[in-house]
């Protein structure tokens, strides 16, 4: 792929021209019809090569959060200064990276508010404030820009399309079948089938602790119609159904709620299916409980989705230790040999490296403190680590192809777990068969650099608080991550030396982004409330929810 490091950025003309060159007729049609308001399918296919945009939650379909920039280096990163901060009026945690396109940053907040902000000035262009009914944790992981619209999947199961220029609602449709227990937190993932040219938005439903079963939907972005859906828990007669006692599969969980990875050329979708439920009551669902706690490779290029392989990380999980890290697709060297790989992580504190074509385990590394992994919660209760918020969290990490390293925050938390004799489904409530664990002992974290070649740590940086802020790596050898004490840090990618730190004043549980706009390279991160990462040991003062935009002092 040719470098897109055009000083001066991709203006209107540049964007159209580039799209037309590589996209052919389809690209021209898209670009011509709606100018440069929103990205075309070709722009999505080329996200990895563009350093002036950030349109998918983890940068690109590979989820590697790696950006090719030139200005910010280990030598000058200490000169990063805030250019502006944008205060978010919605009261809640931000877990998402902003979407950056054509000079605008689209910030989404906990309760499905969207703020379109000018990248250079931090001035608000428009704001959309949804008021969804919240079933549980309020979170939104970003809008998707397509066909002149900004698509927002909401906490009450709606897909809302906004005019990307004005923020006015174009359509609003309920897409889930059971609004009592199903909601969206995911950024819709656009997929254009190269054979048919048809685009769908892929959405997983967050219903995995509320008595639903894991579902991926493909939604027509024009009509809002669900074209197909794929369930992660097999029904009667399907392979894997026998891994559930009785009809426990019916409310078996396996929710797909974190970012998926995609190879847009082959149509291979990599989706994490969440924990089985009732979460803490194993006897109610005897068996391995396929395909909960699994990474699924699904071919979606045909008329119907088809599973190619699945790897279950934790059979019969009784601790809500699902894999939630956005899986990272890459070709990397393992023991000196180049391999097609997919990296994943779970809340039990395991880091996994699989062959992305076969699903075979290539490497497994514990990145958090683990204790009593095979002890199920009892009626009287017992201690096991990590806690349900521990291990590797929903923002995952970053892969740097230059260092062949994965940069991954992780948490050490222990819990006291209890199960119950009875477990009853109550619509709209947790379906747990026990209780979320109490904290036991100190809660800490670390930032891990994992050498893919050797399979062990290259370096680690310890933190007094858990870490869930994702990571960002740059071609210049700088790695960024945010901490729950509010610090935004930069490290040397190879040595792990801390190069820079800035206190945003509020806990960071959102991943950072970097991009070029005009002649300037920017780095941005959101901070605010800690949400379900909240701990008594966090700083007592909180400067509120905001996005801070950084650039080198000139």
């Amino acid at each position: 792929m040719k470098s897109n490091r055009i000083k001066g950025g991709r203006g209107l003309v540049g964007g159209v021209a580039a799209a037309a060159l590589v996209a052919g007729i389809a690209g021209v049609a898209h670009a011509g019809a709606i100018s440069n308001t929103t990205p075309t399918p070709k722009d999505y296919a080329n996200t990895a090569a563009s350093n002036s945009t950030w349109i998918l939650g983890a940068k690109n379909y590979d989820n590697n959060r790696y950006v090719d920039i030139g200005e910010i280096t280990p030598d000058n990163v200490s000169k990063l200064k805030p250019v502006w901060t944008f205060q978010v009026s919605d009261n809640g945690p931000i877990e998402a990276a902003p979407v950056i396109w054509n000079g605008t940053a689209y910030i989404t907040s906990a309760h499905d508010h969207v703020y379109a902000v000018d990248v250079k000035t931090g001035k608000l262009k428009w704001q959309f404030s949804d008021n969804p009914h919240v079933i549980s944790f309020a979170a939104n992981r970003g809008v998707t820009l397509l066909d002149g619209k900004a698509y927002l999947a909401t906490l009450d199961g709606h897909l809302i399309a906004l005019n990307a220029t004005t923020g006015k609602k174009v359509f609003d449709k309920v897409e889930v079948s059971d609004t009592a227990n199903s909601f969206y937190t995911m950024q819709p993932l656009p997929y254009t089938n190269p054979k048919t040219g048809k685009t769908v938005l892929l959405l997983g439903i967050s219903n995995g602790d509320w008595g639903g079963i894991g579902t991926i939907q493909a939604i027509n972005p024009t009509t809002g119609k669900v074209e197909w859906k794929y369930e992660t828990i097999p029904g009667p007669g399907q392979k894997g159904n026998k891994s559930w006692s009785g009809d426990s599969w019916k409310r078996g969980g396996g929710a797909v709620w974190t970012m998926m990875a995609l190879n847009p050329k082959t149509g291979m979708l990599y989706a994490n299916a969440g924990n089985p439920q009732p979460d803490f009551n194993g006897p109610a669902r005897k068996g391995a409980n396929l395909y909960s706690d699994s990474l699924l490779a699904i071919n979606i290029s045909g008329a119907k989705p088809k599973m190619v392989w699945a790897h279950q990380f934790i059979p019969h999980d009784t601790h809500d230790w699902d894999p939630v890290m956005p899986p990272i697709l890459f070709n990397g060297k393992v023991n000196g040999q180049e391999m097609p790989l997919v990296a994943d992580g779970d809340k039990a504190g395991n880091f996994w490296l699989l062959n992305s074509q076969t699903g075979q385990v290539v490497n497994h590394l514990a990145v958090s403190m683990q204790y009593h992994l095979n002890l199920p919660p009892s009626l009287k209760g017992n201690v096991a680590c990590p806690n349900t918020n521990g291990g590797v969290e929903y923002n995952g990490g970053s892969y740097d192809p230059k260092t062949n390293m994965i940069y991954l925050p992780s948490s050490n938390e222990c819990g006291f777990w209890r199960s119950t004799k009875k477990v009853v489904y109550i619509a709209g409530q947790f379906y747990l068969g026990g209780a979320f664990p109490k904290f036991v002992g100190p809660n800490t974290g670390q930032f891990n650099a994992i050498d893919v070649n050797t399979g062990v740590f290259a370096w680690r940086d310890n933190s007094k608080l858990p870490m869930a802020g994702g990571a960002l790596s740059t071609s210049t050898g700088v790695v960024f991550t945010g901490l729950e004490n509010g610090d935004f840090n930069a490290y040397d990618a190879t040595s792990g030396k801390k190069l820079w730190s800035y206190d945003t004043g509020s806990p960071i549980i959102a991943p950072p982004v970097a991009f070029t706009q005009g002649n300037t390279e920017y780095v941005a991160v959101a901070s605010g409330q800690a949400g379900n990462q909240m701990l008594p040991t966090m700083p007592k003062t909180n400067k509120g929810t905001m996005l801070t935009m950084f650039a080198l002092a000139k």
Binding site: A110, H133, V134, G246, K421, K422, F436
Partner: protein
């Protein structure tokens, strides 16, 4: 129906509606839904009688009690489960009550018996857990406590024909759904009036059973209403009123021409009106009670342990709203009662440290939530250990709020 018509009809509750053919011991695995349902009931009843036989037996050692508990477990779990104890023998069918219930439920479709059978399943699983405790009990006293718990949940699994929700149990399922229809029996449209002896069904519900008069003795147990219609005795099930309501609504909607079971003037059971949470001095009859002193104390507990996620104004930050319009709309939609809310709060909250508050603090927080939702305070405190009758009235927006709701529908607590 006229007043005299009503007087003529018999209101009967109690035993099962359908005549039950109980399978004998060591029966072959049942094949039809109906036979499976009967097998579940038989296994439950055998488990109860096994325990009671041991209870009523004069004995001088724990072995006999514990064997009875093991035998009861075997009846419930079948011979494939790890809880099965080969030494105690298999007195029932190989799948056990739980296996049969699982088979009945394990389908993509959701017939109307599903909620009832889920109730059965939960109670059976709970019974097994209690019986396993009983087999490990040290001393007769501890055994009795565990076995009492098991008998209580077994009784709930057996259920009652008058209920057709999760509390209906097996009897409710067999009295109100197709599970009560013998295989091969004539089935008619349950939305229409009976014309010939048989079973009236609609959307999986059993509406009525018509029997020719003057034949054999007729078992009427479990029927909500029995009427003589022409030359037939018609036994209406407890669910009949509700299903006829659905039939009528459907007929209106589709302008169907088929004859309805009753003319328009006939009393069709109204959907239960949303009831206010009533303040009661005795807190019986499903009502909720709390004192304003509790609510005030609960406000401080809430500020310390709940407000960071649910917000100072109870409208939610990272967690959902728990008072006012948004909350009560969902509570109504999902059928929450104060009792369910209490279970959620005491079992799952605070999210990061569930069960960490003292019982009195939980009661205070519940009182604060009741007051914030504008339900009136009374003289009796919100209990620290609510019984099964407490707070079963469904939550809904109070028609006469106690206090002045703000724009969110929340009443301020001082």
């Amino acid at each position: 129906m006229s007043a005299t018509g009503f007087a003529r009809s018999l209101i009967i509750a109690g035993a099962a509606f359908a005549a039950l053919a109980l399978p004998c011991a060591h029966a072959a695995a049942p094949t039809s839904d109906k036979a499976r349902a009967a097998a579940v009931l038989a296994n439950i009843r055998s488990a109860v009688s096994t325990i009671m036989t041991a209870e009523n037996d004069a004995t001088n050692g724990p072995a006999r009690y514990k064997t009875a508990a093991h035998r009861a477990i075997n009846l419930l779990v079948g011979n494939k489960d790890e809880a099965y104890d080969a030494a105690a023998g298999l007195p029932g069918d190989p799948a056990g009550a739980i296996g049969e219930v699982n088979t009945l439920l394990d389908r993509r479709a959701s017939p109307p018996f599903v909620p009832m059978l889920h109730g059965v399943l939960v109670n059976l699983q709970s019974s097994v857990a209690s019986l396993q405790d009983a087999t490990n009990a040290r001393g007769l006293g501890a055994y009795e406590v565990d076995v009492s718990q098991a008998l209580q949940t077994l009784a709930m699994a057996e259920g009652r024909p008058g209920a057709h929700d999760v509390f209906g149990g097996m009897l409710g399922a067999m009295a109100n759904t197709g599970l009560g229809v013998p295989s091969g029996a004539p089935v008619e449209n349950g939305c229409a009036a009976p014309r010939a002896p048989g079973y009236g069904m609609s959307q999986g519900w059993l509406v009525w059973r018509a029997v020719k008069l003057g034949s054999t003795p007729i078992a009427t147990g479990g029927a909500a209403m029995v009427r003589k219609e022409g030359s037939m005795l018609v036994l209406y099930t407890p669910v009949a009123a509700m299903v006829q309501h659905l039939c009528a609504a459907k007929a209106t909607h589709h302008a169907a021409s088929q004859a309805m079971i009753r003319p328009a003037a006939a009393p069709v059971a109204k959907a239960p009106a949303a009831r206010l949470i009533r303040v009661s001095a005795t807190s019986s009859d499903g009502a909720v009670s709390y004192t304003m002193a509790q609510a005030t104390a609960g406000k401080a507990v809430y500020s310390a342990h709940c407000a960071s996620c649910h917000g100072a104004n109870l409208q939610g930050v990272a967690a959902p709203a728990i008072a006012g319009k948004d909350f009560l709309t969902t509570a109504t939609k999902n059928g929450y009662s104060a009792s369910i809310l209490n279970t959620i709060v005491t079992q799952n909250m605070p999210f990061n440290d569930p069960g960490s508050l003292k019982p009195a603090e939980y009661a205070d927080v519940m009182a604060y939530l009741m007051a914030s939702n504008c339900f009136p305070a009374g003289k009796t405190a919100f209990p620290t250990d609510p019984g099964s009758d407490f707070g079963t009235v469904k939550l809904s927006t109070p028609l006469h709020p106690a206090g002045t709701p703000d724009k969110f529908g929340v009443c301020a607590v001082k």
